[in-house]
């Protein structure tokens, strides 16, 4: 296997890792707010968060192509602020992946926070913990399963992403040719052998990651109960 073959895989891993990190940072406050909000705004925002679940990735990709392009609302502002091109860049892929994997991170986090409920937080409040304090010392530890699920799902989902990357990536080797695109290319050009190899590596790797996460999850539970 020559080195170039593995670059798409490394690129995919990088994309998945960066996207997951960004989503955890952005998604946690959003999920927290959603878990506790009571205003009428909650339902529309929940629907918006869930949209990437039902939107065809190519639709999402197409609108990103326009929005992130030089005349689009995001692209023009970005360029005016001195940034480079967003389309055909790794940053653009991160933006696309963040939108596309958003519900996979926000929903488990929201569910976990909802399960935590108000009770332990009120108790912490009576013990003198301010809002930020209670969030980090009570809500987050109690919701740690949710964080694990969110990170795992976000990572795995981005790893397999195809449609959005196809639309705005430009298939540039070493920059935006992620493993899903590379496999597709091999298939389209009838190079089945390469396609098989890349797919197998991706499959094994994903399975390994998921297995590790779920085993670690069970271990944590078992220690607590002993």
């Amino acid at each position: 296997m020559n080195g170039l073959e593995m670059t798409p895989l490394l690129l995919s891993l990088q994309l998945a890792a960066v996207t997951t990190l960004v989503l955890l940072l952005l998604g946690t406050p959003l999920a927290w707010w959603l878990a506790r909000a009571r205003s009428w705004v909650k339902a529309p925002i929940e629907a918006l968060v869930a949209m990437p679940l039902v939107l065809p990735p190519t639709v999402l990709g197409f609108y990103l192509l326009v929005a992130l392009g030089p005349q689009g609302p995001v692209g023009s502002v970005w360029r005016a602020a001195g940034g480079g091109a967003l389309v055909f860049s790794f940053s653009g892929l991160v933006i696309g992946s963040v939108i596309y994997s958003l519900p996979f991170v926000v929903q488990p986090l929201q569910a976990a926070f909802e399960t935590v409920g108000r009770d332990p937080l009120e108790a912490a409040e009576t013990l003198g913990a301010g809002p930020i304090d209670r969030f980090f010392t009570v809500a987050v530890p109690l919701a740690r399963r949710g964080f694990l699920t969110a990170a795992t799902l976000g990572f795995a989902h981005t790893l397999g992403e195809f449609g959005v990357v196809l639309m705005i990536g430009g298939n540039i080797p070493g920059k935006t040719r992620v493993v899903s695109i590379a496999i597709y290319d091999h298939v389209e050009s009838l190079s089945y052998a390469e396609a098989h190899v890349l797919s197998a590596v991706l499959l094994l790797f994903s399975f390994g990651v998921l297995l590790t996460v779920y085993i670690a999850n069970r271990r944590v539970t078992r220690i607590r109960l002993s």
């Binding site: 009770d119 332990p120 108790a123 409040e125 009576t126 013990l127 003198g128 913990a129 209670r134 530890p141």
Partner: protein, 359 residues
């Protein structure tokens, strides 16, 4: 004088809370009433967990809420301790870590209790390393109480802390609460729907019904008022704090002293000298004579003075007599009332046939 002065008006759906509360700055004030009367809501308002749109709250001279002035001190800045009905221990922390959580977050405070003392007071030495899911109901509540104490509160709030416990756990935890009552110098608000708990622990009672205060006063007064649905007619009586001063092992008697005299009763074998205990003297167990009774089988005879006649026109009026420190109630027939010419100021002797130990 330190106290808890509160006024809250709040609507929760169809329920309306409209209370004015003035509780003393020491001792246990029980908030008593049937389910749905708003007891927990009131307690939560005092804690700041519910934000009553119209409210005033002053605790020990500090203003915690004043809606007119737009003042509302958030809960985490109020020096209070709160014991929830379900305990609400942090399941991701051990008992010790739960206690430390409180100890770390409040410095100063009116009644600073060190960690070791709290552990000793509540008997938690054996369970410090355990996690909440491995504790019994009684143990959980004791941890909850210790944790609430450790934030150095100026006010302790307890919301039916024994409601979720079985009889055995209740019996186990009562002594700890009574000890708290004796040793703490901070006021306690204790929500309960159990008469037994109130009679055993409260100094002051606030009676709540359908979101309004129906009556408020010392526990004696409240438990013995006819017009309140607190006690049934046959249970009207007086609660007194007594101390064990002696024992007669030959006859199996225990001698108690209370503000008003001395009592002896054929029970309380397991009580120790000097121990404090509450007793209940029911009106139907007390009869009156105008002269000191001679040879009578009743052991407990106390001198007293009539202070009030209630329901003088009914068949069974109630006579309130002051034994020099405690007012006792005696239920007699009207015929006797008239026959003995009992009027306020008249000297009598109260014969107490039965003394109920609380519990």
């Amino acid at each position: 004088m330190s106290n808890v002065a509160a006024r809250f008006r709040l609507s929760l759906g169809a329920f309306r809370l409209d209370v004015e509360l003035d509780a003393p700055g020491r001792g246990v004030t029980a908030i008593f009433g049937p389910s749905g009367s708003g007891k927990t809501t009131l307690l939560r308002c005092v804690a700041g967990l519910e934000h009553a749109p119209a409210g005033r709250l002053e605790v020990n001279g500090e203003r915690w809420q004043d809606s007119d002035a737009g003042l509302f001190v958030p809960t985490h800045k109020r020096p209070l301790g709160y014991v929830f009905q379900e305990g609400r221990l942090f399941s991701h922390l051990s008992v010790l870590a739960n206690l430390r959580y409180a100890a770390r977050r409040r410095s100063g405070g009116l009644s600073r209790v060190a960690l070791e003392r709290a552990v000793e007071w509540l008997g938690l030495g054996a369970v410090l390393d355990r996690f909440p899911e491995r504790l019994s109901g009684g143990e959980k509540q004791r941890v909850a109480v210790a944790r609430a104490l450790l934030c150095g509160p100026g006010l302790l709030l307890m919301d039916e802390p024994m409601a979720s416990l079985d009889e055995e756990s209740k019996t186990e935890i009562f002594p700890y609460l009574e000890r708290l009552h004796r040793e703490l110098s901070i006021p306690m608000l204790y929500v309960s729907h159990s008469r037994a708990e109130v009679m055993r622990l409260a100094d002051h009672v606030v009676l709540l019904d359908a979101g309004r205060v129906r009556a408020t006063g010392p526990v004696n007064e409240i438990t013995s008022r006819l017009d309140l649905s607190f006690g049934t007619e046959t249970e009207i009586g007086t609660i007194a704090e007594a101390r064990v001063v002696g024992r007669d092992d030959e006859f199996g008697l225990t001698y108690l002293e209370f503000p008003g005299g001395r009592l002896s009763l054929p029970a309380g074998r397991d009580l120790s000298l000097g121990e404090r205990i509450r007793v209940r003297l029911l009106a139907r167990d007390i009869s009156l004579t105008r002269q000191r009774p001679g040879q009578t089988s009743i052991l407990n005879v106390l001198r007293a003075r009539v202070v009030e006649i209630r329901d003088g026109e009914s068949v069974l009026p109630l006579v309130a007599v002051d034994t020099g420190g405690t007012v006792l109630l005696s239920r007699i027939t009207r015929k006797s009332l008239v026959g003995l010419d009992l009027r306020p100021g008249v000297e009598v002797y109260a014969q107490i046939k039965g003394v109920a130990l609380l519990p």
